[in-house]
Amino acid sequence: MMTGSGFDIDLDEVTLAGARRGDLRACEKIFRKFNTPAYTVAVRICKCHELAQDVTQEAFISTFKRMHQFRGDAPFWGWLRRIIVNHAISALRKLPRHDAVELDDHMAYVNSEEHQMGLAMDLGQALDQLGHEDRAVVWLHDVEGYKHREIAQLFDKTESFSKTRLNRARARLRTLIADSEKESFYETSVNATA
């Protein structure tokens, strides 16, 4: 199983030229190659699978319509990833108030089967507990390798915004995992003594 987002896939020139001409078979080949990495990034940023599905589809459509703008001076995957990320961030901006969503997310975990059973939260679940911007920033920086300057541009903010969010997100992830492990250990001990 591939890890990370797995975006850095090479694409042959023939497929690229075909897609530029509007050949739908070439477009489908590109879609098949990049659908999973694109969806992974979209889910990691948006969290919601349905929203990520819409984001991925819209981004692919936008990519194929703009193929003539791809100059070929950098790898295709980087260009495509930028479009996916841009679509995901703009989808985040359209979401309702962030704090309400974060509270819902937290309650969803508290009421979840894993939590009830005392299972420790894994990194993926912990990531889902973060607010939209924190989650996007930590994913883009730590997994996709974006620089603070690039993240700042994406969010139309300053570099210090990106740095602050990254530190906050990492700290929160550590706390969530540590708390969950402690809780899980305590519940296991209680069950064992009972």
């Binding site: 199983m1 890890t3 489908e28 659908n35 969806y39 599905q53 990194l123 993926g124 997994v143």
Partner: protein, 180 residues
């Protein structure tokens, strides 16, 4: 100095997020994408065709307009030799200038309509974005062929479509306000 890989990953990804598995999409969206792209290609073909006709129509109207304005008045003696050069003097440059003027006027109108119209339904917003994309595409082609009558015709046509959407939205908004 070489930085050990382990140290590099610990700094760049201290929590090991890169170890998370990829997420497989549950739904294969290709059919939807394919159908959207087919519609897009079809509308582009239609637009190119319509744009060509519009440019031709505009050129003809311009030619007729210029010819009529250069026709001798009733007090002048009708002379075939004076009217024919009038028609011949209508150059491609004149056609392009007229279309550029029309395009600038339309752009101003679209700008005003955009300011006046309120929020629009998602479907119209998508169509507006698509038209704006196409205008950008025509603009980039125009940067290579600035004297193309066909391209200027397409641009005017796209701006007309855009103006129509804003106009309809404005009418809906106005109707809503009037009913209050």
């Amino acid at each position: 100095m070489n930085i050990p890989d382990q140290w590099y990953h610990a700094t760049e990804d201290p929590l090991g997020l890169r170890q998370l598995e990829q997420i497989e999409p549950q739904y294969d969206g290709w059919k939807d994408i394919q159908s959207t792209l087919q519609n897009h290609q079809e509308s582009q073909r239609r637009r190119r065709y319509t744009g060509g006709w519009l440019a031709l129509a505009a050129s003809l109207m311009l030619a007729i307009g210029l010819t009529v304005s250069q026709q001798p008045t009733s007090t002048q003696l009708p002379n075939a030799a004076t009217s024919v050069p009038g028609l011949a003097s209508v150059s491609g440059e004149d056609h392009v200038s007229a279309l550029i003027g029309l395009s600038q006027n339309m752009e101003e109108q679209v700008k005003n309509l955009r300011q006046e119209s309120g929020s629009m339904p998602a479907e119209s917003a998508v169509y507006v974005a698509e038209l704006e994309d196409l205008i950008a595409q025509v603009d980039s082609e125009l940067s290579l062929q600035p004297d193309s009558i066909n391209l200027w015709g397409q641009r005017v046509n796209l701006l007309l479509d855009l103006a129509q959407i804003y106009q309809q939205q404005w009418e809906i908004d106005y109707g809503r306000m009037a009913s209050l």
